[in-house]
Every structure is written in structure tokens, then in C-alpha cells.
């Protein structure tokens, strides 16, 4: 874990010298196999259903190229669904509808059948079909939303792929200690907040979902300001967030969900660049009592890299008061470059999950303020020390 070479080799099969990850359109959709057509006949190992159906696909790579391009454009526009999600989401009722466009040999009972046979094993066919099936599901309302408004279908198909670009290619995020996040059952992930705009929450939840063997969703708790704002509030709810209050936290933990919380709140997000990586006060420790009441283990997580994305040089307090915001940031780029100032700087991110702190034995002490404060302090210390450790490993904030 400690040697940087090792880490790079494990996570990136891309030349490390590339300074700007945006300059690699081939990896756009996260399918590196496209860049290496030679590897095709060997058949995509992650798509076992096709290789089983059509054995030994010869298909020379060259004649595919022009067709592939046209379809590729359409797919990107339609935000094709990641394949694992579709496999999971395929509900019985949709199964028949999905099967036909999935590019397989038309079954006997499907009415018309495509007039032109599919080239077997074509990856893009599948993508287009999945994208269209997703669109149809969305337009017909054929998806499930849980009582908090979480929409896994939309999260998997749209939000995670977008954030994936950001965290993997733009921020080159390295995740360690993922084994400390429980595979099943409730867990309370407590992190440091930073970055003027709180994208660290989105990055954390997508990175956790991608890297965790059980692909767990992180249910974030957000300030009520988030839920006051139109549009933003709905994005937060649909990606699994809810208002940070004890009833919601305990309900989610009681349902066995993985809950993410940033106890610093706006104090952490809106601190100046000079105060970077200094943990702010942890509020009343409400997150600890929620964990104690449900006997949930607390997993501290340290996130390095978020502080440099929008380095906040000053806070215009009168303007913030006027706009009813907690702070009004001035960064090297923000008000000056207009919308261009909204582009986050490409800092290097490290996320480390720390060993879980068990709380099951303290269940009766949920209302004991001393126990709550001590535990909150313990979590805070763990995160602060891990932050220092990670910062030593990352001498250059904008390094590779």
C-alpha cells in the first residue's frame, strides 16, 4: 500500500506520464477494451452471456470501425447504462422487452424481430439497446423509488458515470482501506468535509460504490440548505441523500444501510485555504448518538485533495448574508473568470477508510453526553491523524 508504484500499477493501466487526463477520449465511458481491438475475439470476459451464445466470433476489426463511430456518438449522448446495473435491474416484467433489443438472436415469440441481423459480440449494440431501454423505463415511469426518494436506476445510469469521470480521470483518486467498510448491514461512514463546493460527498459515494466488492450505495446526510434549493434537493434525494436529522439517520441505519455523514457541515466546506486539512468542530455529535442507538460501527474516512479544488482565499460575508448563503467564496478563479471559475482544479485525491469503531457495546449510553463526546473526539482524532499521514504521502497537491 505504501509504495506509490504499486498503487499506480494496481489502479491505472494508463501511462502515468499523462498530465491531463481529459486528453484521453478513449476512456470516456470507462471501457478500455475499445482501444484494443486485438483483444476482441478473446471475448469480453465481463459479458459472459454473449460469449456463451455465440462461440468463436471472428469479425475482423477494421470493417467495424466506421459503424462503431456513428453509434458511439449516439451512445454517449444517451448515457448508456453500465452493464452490471442493467443485469441487476432487469425486473421480471421488463425481461421480455429488454431481451429483444439486447442484440441476441430473436426468440420465437418476439413479434417482428430485427430485419438486419446483429453482428454478434458487438459491444456498442448492447450499449445502444441498454440506453434505449433505460430511456423507455424512465419515460414510462417503470422504476422504483424508495421512501427517501433514492432512485438507484438513475444513480447507476447517469450520476455515477458522470462522477466517475471526475473522480477517476480528473482527480486521479486513490482509495485505500475499502475492506474496513462492512459488506452488509449498517455502517456509519464519517468523513472530513472540504472544497468550498461539497463535491467530496459525491466523489466519496461513487468511489465507494465502485471500489467496494459489494458495490454498496452510500446514503448521504445533507444540511437542510441542500433541500431548500430546487433541483439540487432532487439530485440529492435521487442519489440517496436525505436531511441530516436523527430520525432519518436512525431509520436508514435501522434498515441496514451504509450512511455517510460530514459532521463539520458548512464549517468544513467553507473554510479558507489557509486552514486546509484542519478539522473543524464536530457539532453536537448527533451522528454518534444515532450510531449508538442502532449499535452501528463507525468507519472514519479521511479525504485528501478536496481542499485544493477551489482554494478559498476570502469569504465575502456581507454578500453571503445578502444571498442567505453560509459563505461567499473568492478563489483564484471564481468570481473573476465567471463560469470558467466553476471548473475544479485537478488536485490529486487520496481517500482512506480507517478501521471501524464498534459501538454495539455502548447501546445504552446513547444519551450519555460524555460517552458521545468522547467517541466523537476519537473519530475526529482518527480522521485528523489519517489526514496528516495521507498528506505526507502526497507531497505535491497537483502531482500525478
Amino acid at each position: 500500500m505504501s509504495s506509490p508504484e504499486e498503487r499506480r500499477d494496481a489502479r491505472y493501466d494508463v501511462p502515468l506520464g499523462v498530465p491531463d487526463p481529459d486528453a484521453e477520449p478513449a476512456r470516456r465511458n470507462g471501457h478500455r477494451r475499445v482501444t484494443a481491438p486485438a483483444a476482441r475475439p478473446a471475448a469480453p470476459p465481463d459479458e459472459p452471456d454473449t460469449s456463451a451464445d455465440e462461440p468463436g466470433v471472428p469479425g475482423p476489426a477494421t470493417p467495424h470501425q466506421p459503424a462503431k463511430k456513428t453509434v458511439a456518438k449516439k451512445t454517449v449522448a444517451k448515457k448508456a447504462v453500465a452493464k452490471k446495473t442493467v443485469a441487476k435491474k432487469a425486473v421480471a416484467q421488463q425481461a421480455t422487452a429488454d431481451e429483444a433489443p439486447a442484440g441476441k438472436a430473436p426468440a420465437g415469440d418476439t413479434p417482428p424481430g430485427p430485419s438486419v441481423a446483429d453482428r454478434p459480440g458487438d459491444h456498442w449494440d448492447r450499449k445502444v439497446a441498454q440506453g434505449l431501454a433505460f430511456l423507455r423505463r424512465r419515460l414510462a415511469g417503470d422504476y422504483e423509488v424508495d421512501e427517501f426518494g433514492f432512485d438507484p436506476d438513475l444513480t447507476d445510469a447517469v450520476v455515477h458515470p458522470l462522477v466517475r469521470l471526475l473522480y477517476r480521470d480528473w482527480f486521479r483518486t486513490e482509495v485505500s482501506g475499502i475492506e474496513h467498510v462492512p459488506d452488509e448491514g449498517a455502517g456509519l461512514v464519517v468523513g472530513n468535509h472540504s472544497g468550498t463546493v461539497a463535491i467530496d460527498a459525491l466523489i466519496l459515494s461513487t468511489a465507494l460504490h465502485d471500489r467496494h466488492p459489494a458495490h454498496r450505495y452510500l446514503r448521504l446526510l445533507g444540511a437542510d440548505l441542500v433541500f431548500r434549493m430546487p433541483v439540487v434537493s432532487e439530485i440529492a434525494r435521487k442519489t440517496g441523500g436525505t436531511v441530516a436529522c436523527n430520525p432519518d439517520a436512525e431509520r436508514l441505519l435501522g434498515n441496514g444501510e451504509l450512511v455517510g455523514v460530514f459532521p463539520e457541515g458548512f464549517k468544513g466546506v467553507g473554510k479558507l485555504y489557509a486552514d486546509r486539512y484542519k478539522l473543524q468542530r464536530f457539532g453536537r455529535g448527533g451522528f454518534v448518538s444515532a450510531a449508538l442507538r442502532t449499535g452501528t460501527p463507525i468507519v472514519p474516512v479521511a479525504i485528501v485533495g478536496g481542499e485544493e479544488i477551489y482554494p478559498m482565499l476570502a469569504d465575502i460575508k456581507p454578500l453571503a448574508r445578502l444571498l442567505k448563503l453560509p459563505y461567499f467564496p473568492v478563489t483564484p478563479t471564481f468570481p473573476w473568470l465567471g463560469p470558467l471559475g466553476m471548473v475544479p482544479l485537478p488536485s490529486k485525491w487520496l481517500i482512506e477508510f480507517c478501521p471501524p469503531i464498534p459501538t454495539a457495546h455502548l447501546r445504552d449510553a446513547a444519551d450519555d453526553p460524555l460517552v458521545v463526546f468522547n467517541l466523537a473526539d476519537q473519530v475526529r482524532e482518527t480522521i485528523q491523524q489519517t489526514l496528516h499521514k495521507l498528506l505526507e504521502r502526497r507531497p505535491d497537491p497537483f502531482g500525478p
Binding site: 449516439k74 423507455r136 419515460l139 415511469g141 423509488v145 434549493m229 430546487p230 436529522c245
Partner: protein, 357 residues
């Protein structure tokens, strides 16, 4: 408790608000139950002609709620089911002032009469999930213990808070009476006719921009079942009555095959008021708040105590869609056909490209 009476089915039941849809159906259903001796329907107005058939087995008495006291005493009534609530102002019934008169003053008078009825042993009151109010700091799911954080802006929500307050007072003064408060989610179903069902029946449905509230409905038949069980069995306390599961507004509109038109939030309440005064829409602050915040309740207490689970919100909504398929703009089949068409044309294009190269 009345001596010699086993708990369970009551003898004489008074149902208020039988002139309306819900009251008439509940009264008819109770009258059909053999365990119940006598069902008396009370309403100041005569029932709608189409409800008259339903009420053939019910003794109807045209009476204002303020003169109920004598009736309760004379007829040895042991159960009162209070359903005479107005959910939206009706210009013909005195608008908002008339609505408040009916809801708040009517309930006060009913409870005052009930308090003096010595043989009364059960009171069932219709309430609404609007009792939780609306606030951005609200938890996502309301349990029966959740206190409203802010008084709602809408008239109906405020009335409900008042009514529940009076019932709390009644419980203190008459602890021997089994008081059941049922907080219903909005009714829906093949036959229900409410502000919300009229809303979803339009081909083009206005929504609030940037908001996609989580909604819950309860099927009308399930609401009847719960009311029936509340009378026939003893279930003291407050219960949320809603279909498990959640539909988001956009999802509901899409499932119904309607088209959503987002409207900007600032000034929406004013626009709704103008539209109402011009005689169409009929949406008040109650609806605007619901469409901004949404409302989801926990129904585990109902399921535990009643041993009954209403059909899910999605199933109840499906039942409504089947009855109101007239205004559908986009159907599921059209979408599936469009999907096939696009896939097919992509295949065509690809094959021609392949042939040329």
C-alpha cells in the same frame, strides 16, 4: 366501559358526513355488517342522488352537528365516526370560511356533544397526513410521533392540526372512550374524485420546477376497510393510513401517460389563487406545499395493530390510471414501439454502412 358489553362490535353507530362520498360508503358498509345493530347517518344536507341507493339501509337524519348532543343521548349511541371534513374550499358552501366552519367548529361541537354522552365508548375521527405540516427540515418519513415543525400554510392543513388538538383534549377528558385518529394519505382509486385525482386526470399536469416530491396514496377501498375495522374492533391511538411504497410526482405523471409542465416556484401560490378565483384549477396552498415537499409516512403501526396492509401506493395509483385512461398522451406501447423503431433504424444504417465499406 359500558357494562355487559364485550369489546369489539358496537351497537348503535353514528356516522357524520354521510352526504359525501366517503361518509356514504362507510355508512353503507357498516350497515351491511351484521354485528352492528344500527347505523345512523347524520348530515345537514341531503345526500347526493347517486349516493341515495347506497344509503338504503342507513337511517338518515338531517341534522347540524351543533344539535347532535340530544341524538347521542336519546338513541344510546356507543360509537361516533366523524367523517364530515371538507378538504378543499367549495364556493357554493361558503368558500374557505364555510370550510373552516365545517371542519373546526363542526368537530368542536361534535366533541362537546360526545363528551356528554355517557354511553359513548368509541370515537373514530378522520384526519390527514397533512397533520405533519411542511418544512425543509422535516425527516423523510413521518411516524405517528413526529411533531409538525411548522404550521402549514394551507387551510386544510391548519384545520387538521386544530381538529387533532381538540381530539387530544377529548382524550384527556374522556379516557374511558376508545379514540382512534386515522391520518389518511390522499385517496385514490378507480372511483375517487378529489382535487388530486382531478389533477392527475388532466392531459397536461403542472408541477413545481426543480421539485419532484415523494407522494403516497391510499386506495379508497383500503381506507373503507380500515374505517370498518376501527369501528368493529378496538384500536385506540393515532394511525397513519397510506399505501406502502412511494411514487415520485414525475414518476406518477409518467405512469399515467401525462405530460408534466414545470412552473417556477416563486409566485406559484399567487398564480394558483388567481386560477382558483377564475374558476379552474382549484389548487390551494395545501397542494402547492405538497408538490414542493412531498409527504411520506410510516405505516408499520397500522400493519401491526390492524393486521392489515393497504395495497401499495403504486398499485393504488395503477387502479386509478386504469379508470382514467382517457387523457393519456403517451402510452407505454407507443414508447416501446418508438424504442423498437430507433433500434431498427440504427441496425439499418449500420448494415448499409457495412455493405458500402
Amino acid at each position: 366501559m359500558t357494562p355487559g358489553d364485550t369489546s369489539g362490535a358496537p351497537g348503535v353507530v353514528v356516522v357524520t358526513g354521510v352526504g359525501r362520498w366517503l361518509g356514504a360508503h362507510v355508512a353503507a358498509r357498516l350497515a351491511a355488517d351484521e354485528r352492528i345493530e344500527r347505523v345512523i347517518g347524520v348530515d345537514p344536507a341531503p345526500p347526493n342522488p347517486e349516493l341515495a341507493d347506497l344509503l338504503s339501509d342507513v337511517e338518515l337524519i338531517r341534522l347540524d352537528l351543533d344539535s347532535l348532543g340530544g341524538l347521542l343521548l336519546d338513541l344510546d349511541v356507543d360509537t361516533v365516526v366523524h367523517l364530515a371534513l371538507v378538504t378543499a374550499p367549495d364556493p357554493q358552501q361558503g368558500g374557505r370560511a364555510g370550510m373552516k366552519e365545517q371542519n373546526v367548529i363542526g368537530t368542536m361541537q361534535l366533541l362537546a356533544a360526545a363528551q356528554r354522552a355517557p354511553r359513548l365508548r368509541k370515537l373514530v375521527v378522520r384526519s390527514s397526513t397533512a397533520a405533519y405540516g411542511v418544512s425543509f427540515r422535516d425527516p423523510a418519513v413521518f411516524t405517528e410521533e413526529t411533531e409538525p415543525r411548522e404550521v402549514p400554510r394551507g387551510g386544510f392543513g391548519r384545520d387538521i392540526l386544530d381538529i387533532e388538538g381538540y381530539v387530544r383534549g377529548f382524550r384527556r377528558r374522556r379516557p374511558d372512550v376508545t379514540a382512534t385518529v386515522l391520518r389518511f394519505a390522499p385517496f385514490i382509486g378507480y372511483a375517487a374524485d378529489t382535487t388530486l385525482t382531478r389533477y392527475f386526470s388532466q392531459p397536461v399536469v403542472p408541477t413545481v420546477f426543480g421539485r419532484d416530491p415523494r407522494l403516497q396514496f391510499v386506495h379508497f377501498d383500503d381506507a373503507l376497510e380500515v374505517l370498518h375495522r376501527s369501528v368493529a374492533e378496538d384500536h385506540p391511538g393515532t394511525y397513519n393510513v397510506a399505501g406502502p411504497g412511494v411514487l415520485s410526482l414525475s414518476q406518477a405523471i409518467r405512469r399515467a401517460g401525462r405530460v408534466a409542465v414545470p412552473v417556477l416556484e416563486p409566485g406559484l401560490a399567487g398564480v394558483a389563487a388567481i386560477a382558483r378565483s377564475l374558476g379552474f384549477g382549484g389548487y390551494g396552498l395545501d397542494q402547492v406545499d405538497l408538490f414542493v415537499h412531498g409527504r411520506v409516512v410510516d405505516t408499520s403501526r397500522l400493519e401491526r395493530e390492524y393486521g392489515f396492509t393497504p395495497r401499495s401506493t403504486a398499485a393504488a395509483f395503477d387502479d386509478f390510471i386504469r379508470a382514467h385512461h382517457g387523457g393519456v398522451v403517451v402510452t407505454r406501447d407507443q414508447l416501446a414501439a418508438a424504442e423498437q423503431l430507433v433500434l431498427e433504424s440504427i441496425r439499418q444504417v449500420r448494415s448499409t454502412v457495412r455493405e458500402r465499406s
